[in-house]
Symmetry: C2
Subunit: 481 residues, 2 copies
Amino acid sequence: MNKPLISKAFNPDNFRHQGHLLVELLGDYLESALQSSKPVNRWRDPEDQLTFWQNDYKEGDRELGRFFKNLIDSSLHMHNPKNMGHQVAIPAPEAALAGLLTELLNNGTVVYEIGAPAVVLERVVCKQLAQEMGFDPGKADGFMTSGASLANLTALMAIRNIKAGEDVWNKGNNKQYALMVSEEAHYCIDKSLRIMGLGEAGTIRIPVDEHYKVRVEMLESAYRAARDRGVEVLGIIGCSCSTSTGTYEELEPLADFAQAHNLWFHVDAAHGGPAIFSKKHRHRLKGIERADSVVMDFHKMMMTPALSTAIIFREAKHSYRSFSQKAQYLWEEQEKKSWFNLGQRSFECTKLMMSVKIYTLLRQYGTALFEEYIDYTYDLAQSFAGMLKQESDLELALQPETNVVCFRYKPGKLSSASLSKLNSLIRKKLIEDGEFYIVQTQLKEDIWLRVTLMNPFTTTVELRALLEKIKQLGRQLVSEQ
Amino acid sequence: MNKPLISKAFNPDNFRHQGHLLVELLGDYLESALQSSKPVNRWRDPEDQLTFWQNDYKEGDRELGRFFKNLIDSSLHMHNPKNMGHQVAIPAPEAALAGLLTELLNNGTVVYEIGAPAVVLERVVCKQLAQEMGFDPGKADGFMTSGASLANLTALMAIRNIKAGEDVWNKGNNKQYALMVSEEAHYCIDKSLRIMGLGEAGTIRIPVDEHYKVRVEMLESAYRAARDRGVEVLGIIGCSCSTSTGTYEELEPLADFAQAHNLWFHVDAAHGGPAIFSKKHRHRLKGIERADSVVMDFHKMMMTPALSTAIIFREAKHSYRSFSQKAQYLWEEQEKKSWFNLGQRSFECTKLMMSVKIYTLLRQYGTALFEEYIDYTYDLAQSFAGMLKQESDLELALQPETNVVCFRYKPGKLSSASLSKLNSLIRKKLIEDGEFYIVQTQLKEDIWLRVTLMNPFTTTVELRALLEKIKQLGRQLVSEQ
């Protein structure tokens, strides 16, 4: 049978030609982005953007290079030092190349035989991580999964299956189960518990103090109140760090509490976990070695393209308890636990070769790369906080503990509602302008500006320019009112 | 602050240099793989493989090219025409290049402003898909997510939130809910319902006939029996196609049944959905236009690197009903539904630019590429079935409807237990040999060999060689016993 389009699409010479062109295009992107001379983003209204690409699709211009160029130009330039937005990795170029390799090879990692090297690299990476966290790597075990939301769901499933006083996996929920967690935890925790059919009562939210840390003195009463309502508390979750403010919870009191009540102790270290590699900052994670399970993203603070998340269990046997599944076409011996058939433990049935990307960085640079990165970006946040404190019309929300900094423009005496509106408008103007990219968040009732200093090439020069721009926009907006 | 490792890792010249080398390496891989002169796989025992890579990690050889070369050599060569294993895409090279672009840019697609073009391309792709499925693209809406397991969970969540007679999202499960589905459905359905706290009773398994299609005449009694047990049935799921045998369910009777009982009608078309692009095979999906929701993978039959899955809802409003989440740092106006802020609908909080890869193929080749591919691989399965029928010591399990074929070596009169053992051994030998890659599955009680003809360069030549090899191994194993 004649296969003209397939023959064209799979032509190796075409791949080489287009591949070299793309490498050059991306090389140009990197050079330009790193110099910070270009805007971070080129703002287009959603409907305009849609029209642009609908036309691209209809026109049928088949020039791949032009398409890639347009796509790069329309994207957010994460590598630009003026990008200070979301908690998503600025990928190291070599990790992205490792990604190209996995995109083409496309081996799965659910069964050893279809993705042998990637399966094994996942083990090497997870064992290394277990060791860094202070677990016994001989006893601990873990695997990788598609993002921290899924990793946290995976942990919560293990907790319910292990800690519930009934066989929930087979019999379903017959009681109200709940987990205790900071009110500042990532929204995926609450979402997961609702997915699990536990409703809003599945999350026992512990209030935080003025530093956005869980008020440890409230744990006992919250626990008792839940039990008095007939709720079976299964575990407690520590946040390392919280999402909005980047605050590290004190893990040791949580570990003590879990131990006292025979609860599972889980730590969501999606963003803040890699501080474990820093001699200077690892004290923030003291107590993590007492966790029963830990989730950590490589695609936040480890320069790895998304999605790439590890979940580590202190005891290997627990890593098999999240899901239990029979797939006739995957495993012959359904009951045998094999470390190398990862699908026995993972949510995914097609699971990416995600270990290759993080392994590439570990292999090339060791953990020293991550230490350098944590130290630089965390210290930069301190410098930024210092700058903010010196400005009379800018306000720092709280002293940062990571590379997340919340602040706002605060000229004179305005109500907090007016301040929220003003800062929200400032950010809108910033986005439309495109020179900088920052985000915002809500703390208590108010809107604050928020930066995550993810880019290792951001310096105080860009931060100073950002503040100047914010003040300028702020003054303009105030004068217009 | 000095950042020697970071400066090295992000050096654009280094990226260009390594990038060009990798493109050449992968070009060599493609050329070699497509010729089928090389083995598909180089078998190494898991523990040996682990030792190999542990040494690689320890040795600290920093030559990236050598690492990539080793990795390619140790991987399963999906592009080799003798790979006939799993239902995972053989990626088209240009889609893999699009993947490189997304690996480096790493924009998220949860909020419009951080991944504008990829968000918009997701809309273009989903609208096109809705149209092909026979939905009104003006009314239908969808988005992409990380794999079909997650897409099915997303659909099930919408079903429970919409169809349950209580507010499960907030109040939790207070009843036994269930879905009706073929006993041959993918294991992710049962797993999702257990995650949702519904236990084994959450799945009402409908038996299949000898063609592995749901026995429609049993729907009514199964439904009544469930209601008599106090179970609230929320919906029915059609499989297009089943996983083990690749059988398409008759969708129209399921749609009728759903309509009669006011149930949600969901279709898991992860593998078989793309037949919608084939004039010759789209009749298999007749009735899909009556589905309330459909899941379809691009990373199975659409040559796109994993993970890349669409979930399409017939009515746009339902696409917002799976999850409901507040994330202070993402959306200012929490309640406003915006098509361009995909995180309001997705499970993921960091969501990949996955649309770029499938869009690249659609833009370059249109849907005609997929028609060519479906027609070729589905027809090849028919040819293979014909070959099997002519062989006296080989048995075809059932006439294929897709590109999945189940068969076994059956010399003379052996018990079915002996046949299972024999075929399982044959496959083990095949894997260790490495020339071919096929899988196996369990049908009823027996083990059968199974191929998925995913590679558009596989021809009857490789299939004939496979059968010769199987017969040879079979004879040898029988004689040794």
